[in-house]
C-alpha cells in the first residue's frame, strides 16, 4: 500500500450497524473504496484491523456504555478528522429518545432490573458529540449511498463534505409529489434533513424524520401546523422526537415551558 493513501477507520458503537452495512452495500464501488484509501479498521468487513493513527475516523452509533466512551475518546486521539455517520452518531437516534437522565434510568431498570453488569457499565445513549469534538456530520438512517460516496470522495482528498442544506420537502418537490400535509397526514418533511430522495413520500407515505433535523429546522412552525390539523401535543412531540434525539431537545424543552 503506498504511503500517500489516506488512512481511514470505520467504527461501530451502539446502533443497528446499518451505516457500516450501507458501506458494504456499495457493491459496485466497494473495491474502489478499498483501493482509494487505506482502510485500517472496519470490523464488519475485515479481521486484520490496526489500531493506529489515522487521517479520518467514520463513527457510527451512539455512546451507550462506559467502554464505548473510552473507545471513542481513543478514536478521537488517533484521528485527525472525526465524521459522525448516521442519525445515532449525529443525534443519538431512536435510543436517545429518553432525553431526561431520570427517565432513561427508570426505563433501564424496567428492562434489566438490578442485575449488575460485569462487562461494561451502561450509559444513557448520547450522540458522539456529547463526549468528543466532531468535525463533520453525515446524517441518515441509514446514511444514503450517494451522499456517503460524495463525502468519502471529498474527505479522502482533504476537503470538507458538501451536504444538502435543505429539508426533505425540496427533494419531494423535485419528484413532483403532492404535499401530504395538505391531506392532513402528519409528515415531518419540512424539518428533516434531505438526502434520502424523499423516498417515503414517493411511496405515498409520510416522512418519519429518520434522518434527523436539518440545521435550523423550524420546529415551531411544524408543531403548530400539526396542531392546527388536530393532532394533540403528546402525539406531535412523540412523532417529532422518534428519531431526533438530542437534535430536538431544546425545542421540546421550550414547548414544555410554553404549555405551563
Amino acid at each position: 500500500m503506498p504511503k500517500d493513501k489516506p488512512k481511514i477507520g470505520i467504527f461501530e458503537l451502539t446502533g443497528c450497524a446499518g451505516d457500516a452495512l450501507l458501506i458494504l452495500d456499495c457493491e459496485k464501488e466497494l473495491k474502489d473504496i478499498f483501493h482509494a484509501a487505506d482502510i485500517q479498521s472496519f470490523v464488519m468487513a475485515k479481521s486484520d484491523n490496526i489500531d493506529g493513527k489515522m487521517d479520518v475516523a467514520l463513527v457510527e452509533g451512539s455512546v451507550s456504555t462506559e467502554k464505548e466512551k473510552k473507545e471513542l475518546l481513543d478514536i478521537r486521539k488517533r484521528a485527525e478528522v472525526v465524521v459522525a455517520i448516521g442519525t445515532c452518531a449525529c443525534f443519538g437516534g431512536i435510543q436517545a429518545a429518553f432525553l431526561e437522565g431520570s427517565e432513561w434510568e427508570k426505563n433501564y431498570k424496567e428492562v434489566y432490573g438490578k442485575t449488575k453488569m460485569t462487562h461494561t457499565k451502561p450509559l444513557q445513549s448520547k450522540p458522539i458529540n456529547a463526549h468528543i469534538k466532531v468535525d463533520f456530520y453525515l446524517p441518515g438512517c441509514p446514511i444514503g449511498k450517494e451522499q456517503f460516496l460524495s463525502t468519502f470522495n471529498r474527505i479522502i482528498r482533504g476537503n470538507p463534505p458538501e451536504l444538502y442544506r435543505f429539508p426533505v420537502c425540496v427533494e419531494c418537490k423535485w419528484n413532483e409529489n403532492d404535499c401530504l400535509l395538505n391531506k392532513d397526514i402528519p409528515c415531518l418533511g419540512p424539518v428533516t434533513a434531505a438526502g434520502c430522495g424523499a423516498i417515503c413520500i414517493n411511496h405515498n407515505l409520510p416522512c418519519v424524520g429518520c434522518w434527523g433535523p436539518i440545521p435550523g429546522a423550524n420546529f415551531t412552525s411544524e408543531y403548530y401546523l400539526l396542531k392546527e390539523k388536530g393532532f394533540d401535543d403528546d402525539f406531535i412531540r412523540k412523532r417529532m422526537g422518534n428519531f431526533s434525539g438530542t437534535g430536538i431537545a431544546d425545542f421540546l424543552g421550550k414547548i414544555k415551558g410554553e404549555k405551563r
Binding site: G18, L24, T65, Q95, T120, P122, H203, N242
Partner: protein, 579 residues
C-alpha cells in the same frame, strides 16, 4: 489461569466477543459478550402509535430490518384484526426473499468463506476467487434490489405498512426481477456445491434442539403461525414464551433464552433440519444430495444450510412473481380497532424472530421482541465450550481462538440484535481462592462431597466434606445422604451450591480449581459419574449458581489411601473455607 479473548469479533454484523478462561486442561468459563450498549427499544415503543412502532423497531438491526418490519406487521395486524389480501402477502414474501439472498450471500461469501480458504477478508480473497467475489456481490446486490423495490430502499425502507404497501411495483419491475432470478441459477447451484463441500472441522459436534417457524400447508418457508421443534413438538405463536423463557445474564445487554432449561439453536441450519424434507426443485435435490447426520450436530454446517436456502429463495421468486402479476394493487386496509393483543413470528436470516404487542387506546402498551441471536447466545457459548475443551484435551490450545471465531461466525450473529470476538485467558495460580470469596459474597455456600471412597484420591471430596463437618462448617452433605431426603437445601435455593470432588484437569496432583457447574456437563474429560444425575435434582436457576471445587488427583486406583499432595490440598481447602 489463561484467557483466550476475541475482543472484536471481526466480520460479523455488530459488535461482540468471546472470552474463554482455562485452568490447566480445563475450560472453566466461556462468555459470549455482546459489547453493544443497552438500547431499551421495547421501552421506546411504549405510548407510540402502531405505525410509529413499525417504523422504529426495524432499527434494531440493519441486516434483519425487513424481518423486523415483517414480524412487527404480522403482530400488529393480528392485534388490530387486519387481514391483508393475497397480493400483499405475496409482496411481503418477495421482500423477505430479497433479505434472505442479501444476508445469506453476504454471510457465506464475505464473512464465512475467507476463514476456509485462508484470507483475512473478502477483498483480499478476490485475488484468488475473483469470479466468486464478483458474482457474489451481484447476488447480494440483487437481494438489495428486491428489498429496494419492495421497501423503498436497501435498509430501513418504509414502504411496507400496516394493511399493505404505500406503493406496488409495476409488472415490468416484477418481470425484470423474475428474469434476473432465473439468470442467476447456474451460479446459485455452484454456490450450494461450494458450501456443502467445504471441509468443516469435526470439533465441535454435539446434539442440540432446533426451533423454527412452521410454514403452512407443509411448505418450506420463512413465516408461519406455529413454532416447530426438532423434538417433534409444535407451539402456537402465542405460546412463544414456552420456548424462549427469557432471562438476563450479567455479561450482556442481550437477553438469553432456553427451552425447558436447555440451549437451542435457530437459523438456517434449524430450518433445514426441521423442514428440509419439504424442499422441492433444485433445492430439494441439493438437500437429498448433501444432507447427512453431521448437519444435525455441527453448527458450522449453518453455512451449507444458508447456501441451500439461497437456492430455495431463487427458485421461489419466479413462483411468487407469477402469482403477483395477475392480481390488482389493493388499497391500504384501514382499521378502527383501538385495543388488542397480537404476536407475529417470522424467520429472520439468522433465525426465529418474535414480536408481540398489546395495544390500548390506540397506542402500544406492551412490547416484547425476541431476536434470533439472543436465542442462539446460550448455544453459541455451549458450542464454544465444547470446542475449547476438546481442542485443549487434544493439546491443540493454539487452535482454540480461531475455532471459536469459526463457531461464532457460523451462527451468523447479528449482534446489534442487542456482538467483535475471542479471548483465551489462563486462570491465575490459586485463583480459586479469590473466586471462592466472590461466591461467598452472594450467600453462604452449601457443600456436597462426592466421589468414591474406595478409589484412593477419588474419595477426597467425601473426606473433605467430613473434615468440614468436624470443623463445625454448617450445611455440608455427602452424596449418599442426598438419596435419603429429597432436596435438603430447599430453604437455600438462593445460596450457592458447591460440590467437592476430585477433578482431573490435567494439572499437578494437589492443584485446586473452581468450576461453574454447567461446564462439567460439556467437559467430557472431567465429568463425575454422578454429577449429570445430580443436576437433574437441581433447578436451572440454582444450577447457574452451582460450582465444583476440584482437587487434581494423583491416582484413582482401588484403595483407601489418599496421596500426600492431595491430602495437603484438602487441608488448604478446609482452611480457606473456614476463613
Amino acid at each position: 489461569m489463561k484467557r483466550i479473548k476475541i475482543d472484536h469479533l471481526a466480520r460479523v454484523e455488530g459488535n461482540g466477543g468471546v472470552v474463554v478462561t482455562i485452568d490447566g486442561k480445563a475450560v472453566i468459563d466461556v462468555k459470549f459478550v455482546i459489547n453493544e450498549g443497552p438500547r431499551l427499544v421495547e421501552r421506546l415503543t411504549l405510548g407510540k402509535t402502531p405505525e410509529e412502532d413499525v417504523s422504529i423497531v426495524p432499527r434494531i438491526c440493519a441486516i434483519c430490518s425487513i424481518s423486523h418490519k415483517y414480524a412487527a406487521l404480522r403482530a400488529m395486524e393480528n392485534a388490530l384484526s387486519v387481514k391483508v389480501p393475497p397480493k400483499v402477502a405475496l409482496f411481503r414474501e418477495l421482500m423477505h426473499m430479497g433479505e434472505m439472498i442479501e444476508s445469506h450471500s453476504l454471510h457465506v461469501y464475505y464473512l464465512a468463506l475467507p476463514d476456509y480458504v485462508g484470507f483475512p477478508n473478502a477483498i483480499a480473497m478476490a485475488s484468488k476467487f475473483d469470479l466468486e467475489v464478483k458474482i457474489a456481490l451481484e447476488m447480494k446486490e440483487f437481494g438489495n434490489h428486491i428489498m429496494e423495490t419492495a421497501s423503498g430502499r436497501y435498509i430501513h425502507g418504509e414502504n411496507p405498512v400496516i394493511g399493505g404497501f404505500g406503493r406496488y411495483p409495476t409488472n415490468d419491475e416484477l418481470l425484470r426481477i423474475k428474469a434476473r432470478a432465473i439468470q442467476f441459477m447456474p451460479f446459485v447451484l455452484k454456490t450450494v456445491s461450494l458450501f456443502c463441500e467445504l471441509d468443516y472441522p469435526y470439533v465441535p459436534e454435539e446434539k442440540t434442539i432446533f426451533a423454527c417457524c412452521n410454514p403452512e400447508k407443509n411448505q418450506y418457508g420463512f413465516a408461519g403461525d406455529e413454532i416447530i421443534l426438532s423434538t417433534g413438538e409444535t407451539l402456537n405463536k402465542d405460546e412463544y414464551k414456552k420456548l424462549t423463557s427469557e432471562f438476563i445474564v450479567s455479561h450482556s445487554y442481550a437477553k438469553r433464552s432456553r427451552y425447558k432449561g436447555q440451549p437451542y439453536s435457530v437459523g438456517a441450519l434449524a430450518r433445514i433440519n426441521n423442514l428440509g424434507e419439504r424442499l422441492r426443485g433444485e433445492a430439494g435435490k441439493m438437500f437429498k444430495k448433501y444432507f447427512n447426520r453431521r448437519w444435525k450436530i455441527n453448527p458450522l454446517f449453518n453455512n451449507a444450510a444458508q447456501a441451500v436456502e439461497i437456492c430455495y429463495a431463487f427458485e421461489r421468486i419466479p413462483q411468487i412473481i407469477d402469482k403477483m402479476l395477475n392480481l390488482p394493487d389493493p388499497p391500504l386496509i384501514k382499521y378502527k380497532t383501538r385495543e388488542g393483543k397480537g404476536t407475529g413470528i417470522v424467520e429472520a436470516p439468522r433465525g426465529l424472530l418474535i414480536h408481540s404487542y398489546e395495544i390500548a387506546e390506540g397506542l402500544v402498551s406492551s412490547t416484547d421482541i425476541i431476536t434470533p441471536t439472543a436465542q442462539n447466545a446460550e448455544d453459541i457459548e455451549r458450542y464454544c465450550t465444547i470446542a475449547a475443551q476438546k481442542l485443549l484435551s487434544k493439546g491443540e490450545e493454539d487452535k482454540i481462538r480461531d475455532r471459536m471465531d469459526l463457531v461464532v461466525r457460523a451462527f451468523d450473529p447479528c449482534i446489534s440484535c442487542s456482538a467483535h470476538m475471542a479471548e483465551v485467558k489462563k486462570a491465575l495460580p490459586e485463583s480459586w481462592k479469590s473466586r471462592l470469596a466472590e461466591i461467598k459474597e452472594h450467600g453462604l455456600p452449601l457443600f456436597v462431597g462426592v466421589g468414591k471412597s474406595d478409589c484412593s484420591d477419588d474419595g477426597v471430596g467425601l473426606q473433605l466434606a467430613l473434615e468440614l463437618r468436624k470443623q463445625g462448617v454448617k450445611d455440608v452433605w455427602l452424596e449418599s445422604e442426598l438419596a435419603e431426603q429429597d432436596c435438603p437445601w430447599k430453604n437455600g435455593l438462593d445460596r450457592p451450591l458447591v460440590f467437592l470432588d476430585a477433578v482431573d484437569f490435567k494439572e499437578k496432583p494437589g492443584k485446586v480449581t473452581l468450576l461453574p457447574f454447567h461446564t462439567i456437563l460439556t467437559n467430557t474429560v472431567l465429568s463425575h459419574r454422578l454429577l449429570p444425575f445430580l443436576s437433574c435434582q437441581i433447578s436451572y436457576d440454582h444450577l447457574k449458581n452451582s460450582y465444583i471445587l476440584g482437587i487434581q488427583p494423583q491416582t484413582i486406583e482401588k484403595g483407601h489411601k489418599i496421596s500426600r499432595p492431595v491430602r495437603q490440598a484438602l487441608n488448604r481447602v478446609v482452611r480457606q473455607i473456614k476463613n
